[in-house]
């Protein structure tokens, strides 16, 4: 029911309470919190140290993209509550980047829709990550695994 793009941190507990308070139809709430990891992980091993990253986005268009993704999830699953909060700007290692929360009467629907939202927002919302490493700045390249993860949800019969 809501998407937000903001520079400031979010309060996970308060966000989830707002989502479920007064809505006793929700039996299961599936949540994903993405954080800035201090190591880049690719091909199964931990690579360079990451001190911070800067998330650039496309103001206006980003919110539209997130709302489209959210609407698609609500078409596919019976959901009572959905929330996407994505930060932009400079974030140091350990900081929260994104919150995705999905409430449904059924835990399976909540889990699936949450996974779908995370996979799709990685490939369909206009965000770009610039990492700060001891060797200097580096734009994060798109990850084939992310495209594959997002494409899972294109398969007929998956949802």
């Amino acid at each position: 029911m809501a998407v937000r793009v903001q520079a400031e941190d979010f309060d996970v507990g308060a966000e989830l309470a707002r989502l479920t308070d007064g809505n006793a139809r929700i039996g299961g709430l599936a949540v994903f919190v993405g954080l800035v990891r201090e190591r880049h992980v690719r091909d199964g091993y931990h690579q360079d140290r990451i001190e911070a990253l800067t998330l650039e986005h496309w103001p206006g268009r980003t919110e539209e993209a997130l709302a489209e993704i959210e609407a698609e999830a609500r078409r596919r699953w019976p959901l009572d509550a959905t929330l996407i909060v994505h930060r932009h700007g400079r974030l140091v290692a350990g900081e929260r980047i994104v919150l995705v929360a999905v409430g449904s009467p059924h835990r399976e629907a909540a889990f699936e829709a949450c996974g779908f939202l995370v996979d799709w927002l990685k490939t369909k919302a206009p965000f770009w990550k610039l990492e700060e490493t001891p060797e200097g700045e580096r734009w994060v390249e798109s990850h084939a695994g992310d495209e594959e993860a997002a494409a899972r949800w294109d398969k007929p019969g998956k949802a």
Binding site: G34, L55, E56, H57, W58, R61, E64, H86, I97, V98, V118, L121, K122, T123, K124, A125, P126, F127, W128, K129, L130, W139, V140, E141, S142, H143, D146
Partner: protein, 83 residues
Amino acid sequence: MKIRYFAWLKRRVGVAEEDVTPPPEVRSVGDLVVWLRTRSPAHAEALAEGGAFGAALDRRTATFDTPLGEAREAAFFPPFTGG
């Protein structure tokens, strides 16, 4: 029309956006890219052939074949890496 650049395209071109008036023979997104390369060495490098970047016309995803039509804004950007 307005051209917007994001992430490393913006850094390479040196501006986030610019207003341009392409000649009439620039009909598609691909034509526009070729024409923009002629504006400066920085443009040529940012929009170099073989570069992995996407495009949007008036905020909708476009390919190099998409006709410019009446679009007022074109955007160029690397693949998304959010989440």
